[in-house]
């Protein structure tokens, strides 16, 4: 799964630390999501989308690994 978290974070002028604090996760989680190493749970994905006031699919783009 690809994501545009880094773009949205930059658009809102937030550091990884700030965003982690607001979403109540660790900074390492934000780093891992941005690098595409960790796919967040549906709950966290919705929380991120709600925080930026966009739809979940605006930030997270599903890609089938088999392709």
């Amino acid at each position: 799964m690809r994501n545009k978290l880094k773009v949205y974070r930059a658009m809102h002028d937030l550091t990884q630390e700030n965003l982690a604090e607001k979403l109540e996760v660790t900074r390492q989680t934000i780093i891992s999501i941005e690098k595409g190493k960790y796919d967040p749970s549906l709950r966290l994905a919705f929380k991120i989308a709600a925080f930026f006031g966009v739809k979940i699919e605006d930030i997270f783009i599903y890609e089938d690994k088999k392709k």
Binding site: A20, E21, E24, V25, T26, Q28, T29, S32, Y38, P40, S41, R43, L44
Partner: protein, 132 residues
């Protein structure tokens, strides 16, 4: 308290516990390690409750779940195999048989516990009759 201080507290508590348990083995005392572990756990819990930063989240939980699963997958058959080998060698090395039985029973207890938790979580996460 920040995350770094909490980590330092954890290391100090673990080192102290190790020392106390080592000492209690030397003086052959049973009560001391029980008290030490209880106090250590309480102290660690106290430290954790004072940390203002988020130190655990879904990612750390997922890592922990995967690590536990891998540990279980490797540890259980390995220990079971060692147990069986020790039991099989009981005629040649009679004093190893007891260790073999201890390992085998430990694996049985572990598997039982795993199955109990598996059933519990299976039920919790929706296993049941089909609905139409």
């Amino acid at each position: 308290m920040d995350r770094k201080t909490y980590a330092i507290c954890g290391v100090i508590i673990a080192m102290t516990l190790g020392g106390v348990i080592g000492f209690s083995i030397t003086i052959e005392n049973v009560i001391l390690p029980i008290v030490a572990v209880t106090v250590g756990m309480a102290l660690l819990y106290l430290c954790k409750s004072r940390v203002k930063e988020v130190i655990e989240d879904e990612r750390t939980h997922r890592i922990s779940e995967r690590a536990s699963r891998k540990t279980f997958q490797i540890f259980t058959p390995s220990v079971a195999l060692i147990g069986v080998i020790l039991i099989a060698l009981r005629n040649k090395y009679p004093n190893l048989a007891q260790s073999g039985f201890t390992l085998a029973y430990s694996v049985c207890a572990l598997l039982m516990l795993y199955n109990i938790f598996y059933m519990y979580y299976n039920k919790k996460y929706g296993y049941g009759p089909d609905e139409e």
